[in-house]
């Protein structure tokens, strides 16, 4: 037998199964809920400026989520997804990256996009699918994307971004420009075949990609205890030969620290890294969901005590980098801003009829041109039936 093909282990002569849970997985924790630091903890690279930027991002995140759920309830918006209770995972990890690193997210990582600087009105334009939406009003709310900010447009089919991230990062490596890709996904999406393909290919082809799993305990109504039998997602890293770390996902300093270390490892060694951030989806899956159908208020209350934003606030105040006055002021201002932005975005025109035919191909095919021409003629005949586009037909 060949030691090249596998790591030569002990020879045994009696049956001895490797236990399904034989890897002990430690969890990185730096910040306690009261804002104090664990003894001996290694802090991430962070100064007041970065900390403030992170905290303001968290605040923006919380307010946007809150307001958009309200807007959806009022019937102004068709759909929304919050990241209530798990904001630290996306914001803390994004804060560890270079702006040139690519972000390939699942959908609950608006925090990373906020950190990159996506503007309030850009969020709004996307959600109201108006003609200023970078995505041209084609996808459901929350499917953001920005080339300028290196944030890949969200795609609804789950898991597809995982092998894509391996390929993207491989391309970055070929270019040699010292950037990497971060790929976010939920513990649910990690059951897709694309997860397996993506992690294995990244390992084999030595792609500098950070696979960041947000393990928030649920995939819609399915608890993680019905999603897998292994020890979380981190336990899978071993099977791919990928360096792996588990962090407390509600601990912004631990997330930041782990991601800083992961980025360094990925770029210096042309190698993938797995991070599993443990958290809890405090809100509904989306505005179409009602968690009371599958879990108790008590369970939710228990996890609410681990609020990551409050935890960071406690630390910021202890650092004397933040105070209650600032807190009140920023939340008030953010609420006003968001409300004002909704009012602006919801009345902006929808994209034109013509734009529906763009971007299917780089250049429309003859068939598409014919379909557009026919449709224009039809709408001109029945303008009242097509109020969204009839008024602006060219």
């Amino acid at each position: 037998m060949d030691a090249e093909m596998y790591q030569e282990g002990r020879s045994i002569h009696q049956v001895e199964f490797i236990d399904g849970h034989s890897v002990e997985i430690p969890i990185l924790k730096i910040l306690k809920q009261d804002g104090s630091i664990y003894a001996n903890a290694d802090l991430p690279e962070i100064d007041q400026e970065l900390a403030t930027k992170i905290y303001k991002t968290l605040a923006f995140h919380r307010v946007l989520d809150e307001r958009m759920v309200a807007s959806q309830r009022q019937g102004r918006l068709s759909f929304y997804m919050t990241a209530l209770g798990e904001e630290a995972a996306s914001v803390g990890s994004a804060a560890a990256l270079d702006d040139k690193d690519m972000i390939m997210a699942q959908y609950r990582e608006q925090g990373a996009l906020m950190f990159r600087g996506f503007r309030l009105e850009q969020f709004m334009n996307q959600m109201f699918s108006n003609e200023l939406d970078l995505g041209k009003g084609r996808q459901m709310p929350i499917h953001y994307g920005s080339q300028e900010l290196n944030y890949m447009t969200i795609s609804s089919p789950l898991g597809t971004q995982i092998p894509q991230a391996a390929g993207y990062a491989y391309g970055q490596k070929l270019k040699g420009n010292q950037t990497c890709t971060i790929c976010y996904f939920g513990e649910g999406a990690a059951s897709e075949g694309d997860f397996h393909a993506g992690l294995n290919m990244a390992a084999v082809h030595k792609a500098p990609v950070i696979f960041f799993c947000r393990n928030n305990g649920y995939a819609i109504s399915t608890p993680s205890s019905q999603q897998y039998m292994g020890n979380g997602i981190a336990s899978r890293g071993v099977g791919y030969g990928i360096k792996t770390i588990r962090v407390d996902g509600n601990d912004i300093l631990a997330v930041l620290k782990a991601t800083q270390a992961a980025r360094k490892h990925a770029i210096e060694n042309d190698a993938p890294v797995v991070i599993e951030a443990m958290s809890y989806r405090l809100g509904a899956h989306s505005t179409s969901d009602d968690p009371s159908g599958y879990r108790t208020k008590e369970e939710e209350a228990k996890y609410a005590e681990h609020d990551p934003i409050l935890r960071m606030k406690n630390w910021m105040i202890a650092q004397k980098w933040w105070d209650e006055e600032q807190e009140t002021a920023i939340f008030e201002r953010l609420r006003e801003d968001v409300l004002a932005a909704v009012k602006v975005a919801e009345v902006i025109d929808k994209p034109t009829l013509e734009s529906m035919f763009d971007d299917v191909y780089d250049v429309p095919t003859p068939q598409l041109n014919e379909q557009l021409a026919d449709l224009k003629e039809h709408i001109k005949k029945y303008p009242d039936a097509y109020p969204v586009t009839a008024g602006r037909l060219k």
């Binding site: 068709s78 759909f79 699918s129 108006n130 009003g137 084609r138 996808q139 459901m140 499917h143 795609s155 609804s156 089919p157 789950l158 898991g159 649910g188 999406a189 059951s191 897709e192 075949g193 694309d194 995939a219 819609i220 109504s221 399915t222 019905q226 999603q227 897998y228 179409s288 969901d289 159908g293 599958y294 929808k350 994209p351 009829l353 529906m356 035919f357 299917v360 095919t365 068939q367 598409l368 379909q371 449709l375 039809h378 709408i379 005949k381 029945y382 039936a385 097509y386 969204v388 586009t389």
Partner: protein, 325 residues
Amino acid sequence: MAKMNLLQAINNALEIAMHENDSAVCFGEDVGHFGGVFRATSNLQEKFGKNRCFNTPLTEQGIMGFANGLAAQGSVPIAEIQFADYIFPAFDQIVNESAKFRYRSGNEFNVGNLTIRTPYGGGIAGGLYHSQSPEAYFAHTPGLKIVVPRNPYQAKGLLLAAIRDKNPVIFFEPKKLYRASTGEVPEEDYQLPLGKAEVVKAGTDITLLGWGAQMETLEKAADMAQEKGVSCELIDLRSILPWDVETVAASVRKTGRLLINHEAPLTGGFAGEIAATIQDKCFLNLESPISRVCGLDTPFPLAQEKEYMPDELKTFEAIMASINY
């Protein structure tokens, strides 16, 4: 008889099927305790236990692989794919495996017990990935059956037939009708035939053919045409594969004209197959070209969904164009 919406009719069919056969098993993402994101499997776990109605991990290829194995073993899997837009990771398991299982083994093995349920179509502001109508992707696959009901009565009778049919069946449910479509449905067991179209309304001037949620559109268009003195024969194809060539051809031989309507994009859609077959079978009867009123050849858009859809106005215009050809 009871008044049911389409979801209730489906739930009722599932309950009957699970009741009559101990080895019938329902599963898919969120299908268990929660009853599915549309609640089609509500209460089944309570009634039949966690072994027979359960959540799966989030993997469509796994769901269909598991279902194929379960069917080969002799159980009766009824698998749900949460949205038809997410059926593609399972494409290999369905097209290369389910469809060819019996043939490749010389009937040593088969997965004829398999039923796949999945909500399809537009109408819920779902954009690219919560609106697709992928029936034509599967219709090129000998070995599969494909069924689409248009209302609660049809849904119950066709679903029971699909579950009992000895071939793998994909059952596409028009999700925009889940709650919107209601009607009288017998509480007892009944079946409607697979592979048979239904003439919903007789007419003399043109045949209108569709399936699923688009049947409503065709009805509206037929009413508009009626006002212009045009008599439309309305046919619900019901089974896309195998499809009922004879009923359609007989109608076209009578009316001399055919219009086919589907939500999926025009190019490569199943209307092409129908048109190609009918122009062959009814060449000398046709008084105008067979007309296809379909989705546009773009991905399914969000903001301009109304513009994208093959609605009653577009259908009406096409009827008149055909009549005045």
